[in-house]
Symmetry: C2
Subunit: 169 residues, 2 copies
């Protein structure tokens, strides 16, 4: 897994497009590596690349896949869009790839009349928490406070605590 | 985890209702046990109980949760509904709980104009394959044939082969 960046990428060299089913293989092949070896692939079945393509995006630099985002429009809450999974290649972090992916998701959400965006993250993921705050997300009340954070214990299963984010577009 | 069945349940004693967010805790607490100890909970984040409630169901016998089904309407394919996850308590298998859950999903699909139902299963899960065939699902072409079955290799990640089912309502 090498990124052959001949030049430092600027904002314009990052291309974001809708995800296709065929992107799944390249994403799932790298996702555990991008998370530093954590086993994440069970959380990302292929269905997100097939059935939620309007709200799923891939970022490329020089034609190489360097990031992806999988989200959906809530079926139950007609004002809500939800971001399920986002990954950025470790070699290109802090270049705005994540930001660009989120902006595409926000645009798609507004286009389909969704004014509220929600997502969750693990409280240990301080980078993710800071990223969401920079993008204007606020943290929703939890059932405990830990490290000054509102946290929902056992949210995604036993021991799976989550911080809940919401942003009004 | 005990099922206190004073009488043998008949079809009428099985009650199926829409899933609520609050059902998630009781489902996620049993899902690994119901799969014989396999670690399945990562595949079932809470989002399915929040954002896809029209297509998610819980089955109860005497008020006790004995089965659940989580599905959704494809956002990309307007004719398609998809079943993501189904579980039935081992103590009440072969009593028609799964069948009842699928029928509720089929009814919801038709109500919202979805004529095609899709789902996938692992080729080692012979019980699941037989169940889907009994319900009228057919198996879609795979990229290999194994044990007389059409199988898609690496479908849900490396080594995660799947049999693809489809049923026209």
């Amino acid at each position: 897994m090498s990124i052959s960046l001949l030049v430092e990428p600027d904002d314009t060299s990052i291309r974001v497009r809708h995800a296709e089913s065929s992107d799944y293989q390249s994403v799932i092949a790298v996702v555990n590596d991008w998370w530093g070896g954590r086993s994440m692939s069970d959380m990302l079945p292929k269905l997100f690349f097939i059935h939620f393509r309007e709200t799923s995006f891939v970022a490329e630099i020089n034609g190489e896949m360097v990031g992806f985002l999988n989200g959906f429009f809530s079926q139950t809450y007609p004002d809500t869009a939800y971001i399920h999974f986002v990954g950025v290649h470790p070699a290109v972090r802090k270049l705005g790839v994540g930001h660009r992916l989120y902006n595409h998701f926000f645009d798609a959400s507004l286009k389909y009349g969704r004014s509220l965006v929600r997502c969750v993250t693990s409280p240990v993921n301080k980078t993710s928490i800071a990223f969401h705050k920079r993008l204007g997300f606020t943290i929703e009340p939890g059932n405990v406070q830990a490290d000054g954070l509102q946290v929902n214990q056992d949210y995604d299963g036993l021991g799976e605590e989550r911080v809940l984010f919401v942003k009004r577009l």
